[in-house]
């Protein structure tokens, strides 16, 4: 508590270590509590200062004193002594009920799980019936038959809790029965009994142990409850539940009586549950997936802030202009950049393709424009000018206004980008009501119009469908209709065709073209698929490891790629005509953020690397931009 953390070491590991220690301390305390409980239960007669049953009416209902540390009850009995003897009852109760539950539940569960059929059906219906009654009522009903008292109450609880063991054992058997090794054992003629004992039983042990810890906690609480209402342990015997019963009757005279037994119950159950958690974790550890080693955030060399000069020519009908955008993501030991010095512009009615492998930062670019980067991710430099207004400078409320009205986004998977809980029509109408102030009827009518406009037959009817009732292509049309509902000047489309069938892809691309001709919005089309980009885009910007490596008109890029990475991408494109030669791939992978080479980020994978590539490479050109110092000298092969 008093030791200061070492200020020299980084914050992360220290915190992790102290958390580990914290968990360790809690576990130790829990174990100590249970050891103490067991000790008191065994040696109660020696440890307790008084006879728990010795009455002394002269000393009744006293508060804590030197003679009676926890005071006395209504009959002048020593509370501490009764508490200590209560430990014994608690241990007996937990052991009895849990043992009965296991011995009853596991064999029946094994049997019905293995046999199946009518036995399984009947027993499971009975179990369902029992668990549909509040547990305490089941226990009360069984006690009505057996009679009250510690052992009978524990039999009742044992029967009650056996249902969970029964279901557990049955579940394991049902899962294991069809395993190959069990079936092969059956084939070689092993007896049912042998199969159950040798092959299935070992698989039950781990979940069984966990269930036992859960049951012990529940039994302790239930025993206290039953004793409290007078159906469990009978007076004058000392149990925590009966002590609370006494306390309840004398609340007005000495409310402190209720404190010690309550604390004893809470501490015990808490300890059992916490150890159960630890046990569950350690049993689960065998199958836990090893976490990926964390990336060191070291090698990023480019000085942030030292931005390259903007090379974008200003155009008259510009809708979006992004200048020197830099985006950082949190990493152990600080932040690392995922997008650096990104500049581009899109004009009205123009489609710019943002192409690259996953991890190149193209999706984040779209989200950065919307101001929806997510927790910890932030745009640290640059400007995002939409119709001349810098979106980065806007407050959250202001950018909320811009979203939907001036810029909208269509996502990759239409089935997950529509809310499953609402009809598709209402999701479009909602946007119209919130963003444009239409009333319900107007918004609905407009939504149906839009659904009609994106080429969905029977729009009235489809508007009332839920997303899961539509095909992927139809859902994507709905998503497009919603995005265009407020007639935005910029549409960001993030891989909008990737999740769709090839035949549907073409239809959606046609729809984009068609709608652009009508509405005139600028489109930022994010894709990894060059064939799709070739189909829909006017210009293509190739991204690699968080920066733009080449930008050109579609025809120029395909005919004459200047960057080795672009050429590699073009070669990796599948062609329907000749599938015979295996597709060439670019060797290696995109380096992860934080692992980028300090010079040309593609240099590790490039066939044309020279010494000069280790220096920072600028993006050069006017109409065509390329980030390669050898762009002028290389003879790169165009797409075949």
């Amino acid at each position: 508590m008093t030791s200061k953390p070492d200020t020299l070491s980084p914050a992360g590991p220290v915190r992790a270590r102290s958390r580990l220690n914290g968990a360790h301390i809690v576990t130790s305390v829990a174990a100590a509590v249970l050891v103490l409980l067991a000790f008191l239960a065994v040696f109660a007669d020696w440890v307790a200062p008084y006879d728990p049953l010795r009455q002394s009416l002269m000393e009744a209902l006293q508060g804590p004193s030197a003679a009676h540390w926890l005071g006395t009850d209504d009959l002048g009995r020593d509370v501490l002594s009764r508490l200590i003897h209560g430990c014994r009852i608690a241990v007996i109760a937990a052991a009895e009920a849990t043992t009965i539950a296991v011995l009853l539940g596991v064999p029946i569960g094994l049997f019905i799980g293995y046999r199946g059929g009518v036995w399984d059906w009947i027993v499971m219906r009975i179990v369902e019936a029992v668990v549909s009654i509040p547990g305490i009522m089941v226990a009360i009903a069984i006690i009505a038959i057996l009679g009250a008292g510690l052992h009978r109450a524990m039999i009742a609880l044992g029967i009650l809790f056996s249902t969970s063991f029964l279901r557990l054992a049955r579940g394991v058997v049902l899962a294991e029965r069809e395993e190959v090794y069990v079936r092969s054992a059956r084939v070689i003629g092993a007896s049912d009994r042998r199969i159950l004992m040798r092959h299935i039983f070992p698989n039950i042990a781990p979940p069984l142990i966990v269930q036992v810890t859960l049951t012990v906690g529940a039994v302790l609480l239930a025993e206290a409850g039953l004793s409290f209402i007078g159906l469990g342990v009978q007076p004058p015997q000392a149990s925590w539940g009966t002590m609370l019963n006494t306390a309840a009757a004398f609340m007005d005279f000495n409310w402190f009586l209720s404190v010690p037994p309550g604390i004893a119950i809470i501490l015990t159950v808490l300890s059992v549950n916490l150890l159960g958690d630890v046990l569950r974790d350690s049993i689960g550890r065998g199958i836990a997936v090893e976490t990926r080693p964390e990336t060191p955030a070291a090698r990023f060399a480019a000085a942030p802030g030292a931005a390259e000069p903007v090379v974008l020519p200003r155009r008259a009908d510009e809708v979006l202009r992004v200048e020197n955008l830099q985006v950082m993501v949190p990493a152990p030991g600080g932040e690392v950049p995922v997008i650096t010095d990104l500049s581009f512009s899109i004009a009205r009615g123009e489609t710019l393709g943002l192409v690259g492998e996953s991890g190149s930062g193209k999706t984040l670019t779209g989200l950065a424009i919307l101001g929806l980067l997510g927790a910890g991710v932030r745009a640290t430099h640059g400007a995002i000018l939409l119709n001349g207004q810098d979106l980065r400078a806007l407050s959250p409320r202001q950018i909320e206004q811009v979203r939907g009205n001036e810029v909208a986004m269509v996502f990759q998977d239409p089935t997950t980008s529509l809310n499953p809980a609402f009809t598709v029509g209402s999701q479009i109408a909602e946007v119209l009501r919130v963003k444009q102030g239409l009333n319900r009827a107007q918004a609905w009518a407009r939504a149906v119009e839009l659904i009609d406009r994106v080429g969905i037959p029977r729009p009235e009817e489809r508007a009332r469908a839920y997303p899961h009732e539509l095909s992927g292509g139809m859902a994507q049309r709905i998503a497009i209709a919603r995005a265009l509902s407020c007639n935005p000047s910029l549409l960001i489309a993030d891989e909008p065709t990737t999740a769709l069938d090839v035949t549907v892809q073409q239809e959606i691309l046609d729809l984009f073209r068609d709608l652009q001709a009508e509405f005139g919005m600028a489109i930022l089309f994010v894709t990894h698929d060059l064939a799709v980009a070739a189909d829909i885009c006017d210009r293509i910007s190739v991204m690699y490891a968080g920066e733009m490596v080449e930008m050109a008109g579609v025809d120029a890029l395909f005919a004459d790629p200047r960057h080795p990475y672009t050429a590699g991408l073009l070669h990796a494109m599948p062609h329907a005509s000749d599938r015979m030669p295996p597709l060439p791939t670019i060797r290696g992978n995109v380096p992860r953020p934080g692992d980028w080479p300090s010079g040309c980020r593609f240099s590790d994978r490039c066939d044309f690397r020279v010494a000069a590539c280790d220096a920072r490479i600028p993006l050069l050109g006017r109409e065509r931009l390329v980030r390669c110092i050898r762009a002028g000298e290389l003879e790169l092969e165009a797409a075949s």
Binding site: P134, A148, I229
Partner: protein, 314 residues
Amino acid sequence: MLKLIVQRLLALVPLLFIVSVLTFSFTSLLPSDPVDLIIGDAGTQQQYEMVRERLGLNEPVHLRYLQWLGRAVQGDLGSSFFNSVSVMGAVMQRLPVTLSLTAMSALIAILIGVAAGVAAALRPRSWVDRFATLGATFGQAVPNFWFGLILVAIFAVNLRWFPATGFTPLTESPWEWLRSVILPSIALGTSSSAAIARQVRSAMVGVLQQDYIRAARAQGLPFRRVIFRHALTNALVPVVAVLSFQITVLLGGALIVEQVFAINGLGTLAIAAVRQQDIPMLQGLVLVMVGLVVTVQLATDILYGLLNPKARPS
């Protein structure tokens, strides 16, 4: 929707059959002869035969079951062995008391649980989040009746804000009713609220990562609207699925918590019935409770269908 309700109702038939058989066989499971229980030690052989005839114990068991079931369906659960009052009457008289407690504690559990769960999901590792985690851990370890005792000690005995014991019917005085159920309901509902908060939190954390949340925000819908309409509607789906279980737990807990506050509900009735081995009364209690649980299950199933279009049969 109607189809869903009919489906659920049909699924209840085997359950209710099993429950009725189990409940009926109670009489036979009893070690002591019910006739002895009624006529007492001083009964003569003639009285014995008479009572036996009256109870229909001379008829074959399946006939007795059918007769019993037929009467039970009509709301006639027989009369108490002990004082021959109508079981249905006695249960119905106590039912509003226990229902008040269960409903109020469920309300507290759901309101606090959902609010805390959403807050914790929006700000992981914040104080709300830690508090909900801690609350769930303690909630599983603190007996609700003990929590009730502590509440009595603080708010009734020391501060005198609420009555320590007793129950005022809603029809008599709504204000006094509220004052009489508030402490027991807090005692009952708190641990459930922590459990619900944990469930809401984990469901909400999952939903907030979904594309449709990002899409709704990309569409410029206000943050609050996205959280409470788009996210919560979906996050409540798994919570509603386990809600009926929580309410069953609350109903059981109410039986014990009633004793702390000396409230004459079903719990008091059940305890007296056990002590007197009053089988018809216990049968009636079990059946009424199963009826309650089944109703709650049906209600949550319908709510589930309303929240989750995929669950509706097409």
